[in-house]
């Protein structure tokens, strides 16, 4: 099952980035429109105009995040382009934070007015995080209503972006995570723990053994690394795909290969990014290695966690 999912992910990702963007710009039903009435202190007419602007802004944000994530794996990405897109994301985020619409977004999510299946993506993202506290989370802002499930999965594994505004000290992910967690995370957590337990069994490879030993230090390391990760530098790093792939499928490998910050030859940035929560209990232990340096490409534990995550996602989708 997970193998099939991975394959479909790769074919989806194989297509031009524009395809994904088109999907968003072409009349994606907006979560806002459902919650239009809940947006406070605006007359109906004003709400229409501003929500239209908000939609456009959201669309631009989504587009930018995707652009940052989908990049050539073989050749170093264009730094100028990345910087310009990251600046755009930062601008949008600042504006959204200042005019409070980001708060509205998080509230919208928390209201649970949407059925769980529609909130899949959001849930997924949250499921990965273990912390109850509102720590900077990697999340995907993208709304997936109307998407095919494969695409949802694809974005899940790839689209973890932490966009935090250091200046305003309001971390988007933070606020979002907080809301989402209270809403639906709990349902999933028990599953996570179970799977995690099985993954960490003694039969696993060396990496896991190491991780076991260092388990006590995980939280601490993660705290500090999460502090580091609080910045736009995250955006560069989420070329993501934190998970290395050692699979025989070269396309998969290509897509899921770790993004070495060596893309930009920056050890410090790398450390910050790689140590960022890799979304998920499985990743928490993995993130230990990265905090000391770039993880090796195709480390088996990363690959396995990836598969486990997808398994997990599939379970939720299927509703088992």
């Amino acid at each position: 099952m997970s193998a099939c999912t991975l394959v479909s992910v790769s074919t989806v990702l194989g297509c031009h980035s524009c395809f994904r963007v088109d999907m968003f710009s072409k009349g994606t039903k907006r979560k806002f429109s459902d919650d239009g009435g809940e947006m406070s202190d605006e007359s109906l007419g004003g709400a229409n105009v501003s929500s239209s602007y908000n939609l456009q802004r959201q669309s631009l944000l989504d587009m930018s995040l995707i652009k940052l994530q989908l990049c050539h794996m073989l050749v170093e990405p264009n730094l100028c382009r990345s910087v310009l897109i990251a600046n755009t994301v930062r601008q949008i985020q600042e504006e959204m934070t200042h005019d409070g619409s980001w708060q509205a977004v998080t509230e919208a999510f928390c209201n649970g007015s949407q059925s769980p299946s529609e909130r899949l993506v959001a849930t997924e993202v949250l499921c990965r995080s273990r912390e109850q506290d509102a720590e900077p989370k990697l999340f995907s802002v993208i709304s997936y209503e109307g998407c095919r499930e494969e695409e949802v999965v694809a974005d899940e594994t790839l689209c973890s972006v932490s966009v935090s505004d250091a200046a305003s000290n309001v971390c988007l992910s933070e606020s979002v995570g907080h809301c989402w967690e209270t809403g639906e995370l709990r349902v999933v957590e028990s599953d996570e723990e179970t799977s995690e337990g099985s993954r960490l069994g003694p039969g696993d490879d060396d990496d896991d053994d190491e991780d076991d030993e260092d388990e006590d230090e995980v939280d601490e390391e993660e705290e500090s690394s999460r502090e580091d990760s609080k910045s736009m530098g995250q955006v560069f790093g989420t070329f993501e795909i934190k998970n290395g792939s050692s699979g025989p499928d070269s396309a998969l490998e290509e897509l899921f290969s770790d993004v070495d910050a060596s893309y930009y030859d920056l050890d410090t940035m790398l450390t910050g990014i790689q140590s960022a929560p890799k979304m998920g209990p499985y990743d928490l232990l993995d993130s230990l290695a990265p905090s000391h340096g770039p993880p090796s490409l195709g480390s088996p534990s990363n690959c396995r966690s990836d598969l486990n995550e997808l398994d997990h996602i599939m379970e939720i989708i299927v509703g088992s």
Binding site: C18, L79, V83, N87, Q91, G233, Y264
Partner: protein, 443 residues
């Protein structure tokens, strides 16, 4: 009436799959070099009749693999710059993302014959069979143009090289990547001096990259570099070794009312060119070309809208990544006309004195030998003329990113994908009278 451009040369690059990535006339204009995505350089020579024909072709750069980063290094030639020609041999600098090379292109029309120890094919002779000695002589042969790399300047750039510029002293040159500018001596390959460093201590704070850098044509201590935030800086190497502090900063304030999320994107400077006189700077951003007086930093003295009709389509262009296209610009020999490319294989020229402009198209269908280029027009609404083209019909895959103007004459080279077009002004090819665009349709 005068026609704008006639006398048309057309060359398709040897491997039609390869896109031309740079075009540059030599300092005398007798030669024209193009580089392509496949790492090849083609040099054209101007014939007495005025046409440019292929003179030499060589493989300048090969694809490499960076094993440490597990990334490919493209062989695409980003820039070519000519050294002044001192004798019969030609020297030019070529660069890809990581390595700069100095090439010597020389002619050979004689070869030595009559060696004692080697036969005609170069095989070593059997010594015991040699009965007499002869003196080797030089005999004429068919002209052979050889290119050989004389210097390789490598390992000095952690980021992608976007510019090279030869100093007026002809001894040094600069190379610029996204974050740094290095100064080299043409004879020394194992050492370069860093003169500009934009890399922040914490890469997470990175918000600006260098896009283009160029030396002043006359003052060997002055250089200009532009950035992705829309600023152009003039630096004086005499004031300090590291030119992070600029001597001048050229930036036009953006009207707050018209600010949008795309403002920074479209303000990013894609090319910078000093005028031949050294008095002005020409900068190209996404929608316009600006002429700056070096003595005035606050705003440009002239602004030319290249394709303002795209302003309402920025979101679509962002989506398709077109908004990141880097258009080059050029001055004519007398600094009276500027030229830059656009989409749909269009390129535009602006006469600074009369403020008139023209749009022309570089495409095989339109261009035939000895034909006159007809001005084109882009309309936003209804077509008013047959030759008009609607904004929505523009082909954004056809972009004229690279253009070059002969240093003295009215000859221009336009690169459109894998095709090179060379246009000459029939009436004033020598350029004495400048380009006459007075009698052309304007819009």
């Amino acid at each position: 009436s005068r026609d704008f451009a006639v006398g048309f040369n057309f060359h398709s690059h040897p491997n039609s799959a390869d896109v031309i990535s740079t075009v540059e006339f030599s300092q005398s204009g007798e030669f024209l070099a193009t580089g392509d995505k496949g790492g090849r350089v083609v040099i054209f020579q101007r014939e007495p009749q005025g046409e440019y024909n292929v003179y030499s072709t060589f493989q300048s750069h090969d694809p490499e693999f960076d094993y440490l980063k597990s990334l490919e290094i493209e062989e695409k030639i980003n820039k070519i710059r000519w050294l002044p020609q001192l004798h019969s041999a030609l020297f030019l600098l070529t660069t890809n993302d990581k390595t700069i090379k100095l090439w010597k292109v020389s002619e050979r029309d004689k070869q030595p014959e009559g060696y004692n120890l080697k036969d005609e094919e170069g095989r070593v002779k059997d010594i015991s069979k040699i009965t007499s000695l002869q003196v080797p002589v030089l005999r004429p042969m068919d002209l052979l143009v050889e290119a050989s790399p004389r210097r390789v300047f490598s390992n000095a750039h952690a980021y992608h090289i976007n510019s090279i510029s030869i100093n007026s002293d002809c001894e040094t040159y600069l190379s610029a990547d996204d974050l740094r500018i290095n100064l080299w001596n043409l004879s020394i390959t194992d050492r370069s001096f860093n003169i500009v460093d934009l890399k922040p201590d914490n890469m997470e704070d990175l918000t600006e990259v260098i896009t283009v850098a160029e030396f002043h044509p006359h003052h060997c201590h002055l250089l200009a570099f532009s950035s992705s935030t829309g600023t152009t800086r003039l630096c004086d190497m005499r004031s300090r070794a590291l030119c992070d502090q600029h001597a001048k900063l050229f930036e036009e304030a953006v009207d707050p009312a018209s600010r949008s999320f795309f403002s920074e994107l479209i303000s990013s400077v894609s090319d910078v060119k000093f005028s031949h006189s050294g008095r002005y700077l020409l900068t190209r951003d996404y929608l316009s070309a600006k002429v700056w007086d070096l003595n005035m930093e606050k705003k440009p003295v002239e602004t030319y809208q290249v394709h303002d009709y795209l302003r309402s389509k920025l979101c679509t262009l962002y989506e398709s990544d077109c908004i990141f296209d880097k258009f080059e610009c050029a001055w004519n020999g007398t600094d009276s006309v500027i030229m830059t490319g656009a989409y749909n294989n269009f390129f535009r020229m602006f006469d600074r004195a009369s403020r008139r402009d023209v749009t022309l198209e570089a495409s095989r269908e339109v261009c035939k030998r000895r034909a006159v280029l007809r001005p084109r027009r882009v309309c936003i609404g209804r077509k008013r003329r047959e030759s008009d083209i609607c904004v929505d019909s523009l082909d954004f895959r056809k972009k004229v990113l690279h253009t070059a103007w002969h240093p003295t004459d009215n000859i221009i080279a336009i690169a459109a994908r894998n095709n090179l077009y060379i246009f000459q002004d029939r009436h004033s090819p020598s350029g004495h009278h400048g380009m006459n665009v007075n009698e052309l349709d304007i819009f």
